[in-house]
Symmetry: C2
Subunit: 165 residues, 2 copies
Amino acid sequence: MPVTFEGPLADRGAWQLANDSCSVAMAMDAIGTRSTMLVLREALYGTTRFDDFVRRTHSTDAIVAARLKLLTELGVLVKEPYREPGVRTRFEYHLTDRGKDLLPVVFGLMQWGNAHLQADDGPFRLSDRATGEPVVITATTASGKTVALDDVVLTANGDWAEQDH
Amino acid sequence: MPVTFEGPLADRGAWQLANDSCSVAMAMDAIGTRSTMLVLREALYGTTRFDDFVRRTHSTDAIVAARLKLLTELGVLVKEPYREPGVRTRFEYHLTDRGKDLLPVVFGLMQWGNAHLQADDGPFRLSDRATGEPVVITATTASGKTVALDDVVLTANGDWAEQDH
């Protein structure tokens, strides 16, 4: 079963969302390319330097430069100067809180790929530092309850009738 | 702080993953386009019929047909015949378990877009049917503990040295 819509959304045939009101479409427009997602993967993995992004994403200087610029403009990465002896000042790229909020997206893709596209569940295991338990990306409540798709309820935020759909 | 790599992965400078071994890259190759993600969004929302996918994703017949074919071939959707009186047999598309596993990806994108791309936190609220609590997409353990990025540990799955990186 899919999600349930409630309130003014309950009659699913009566409404549709404009793509410029849909957060999924907006997020895909902003960050939804393979090369962007690989740069994000590396940022989550702790990569900060231009040459390392290029090498580890198997991409080109031009593409990585464009992706780092985009992600910096989006506030996902912050650019910080560093200097090694005898070399001109260079820049490192660090994840912001806005960037860390992409953990569920990037690791969600990894989890799905591990389960459904890899023969051997993929190269990595994620675990929790404190307990050693496996880490999964899932829908949960604040009290830690996992919520299945058919237990998710969608309701309108604010006054639905006054919004631009 | 980013994730921590342990075991044979601990020396981050000593290895890199080939894109055809990376589940993030593989998942983006399989489903990582905006139009595919919007079809998936609709499938999670309960849309099953061709015309409804076209209308609700604001896409074209050709694009939706291609995306439904792709997602059926991937085993994310299953195609089932239905027949209304006086009309030839048509097909509905239903999410499989493999498709439901994409909940964290699609709703993760929504959650990030709601928080960081929308002025008013986006059009929808997700809640749990049983408790009414807000639903979030997050990294958790089986015991329901939320795991922050800097508490995620990545270890190699299987014999790292024997793998193709």
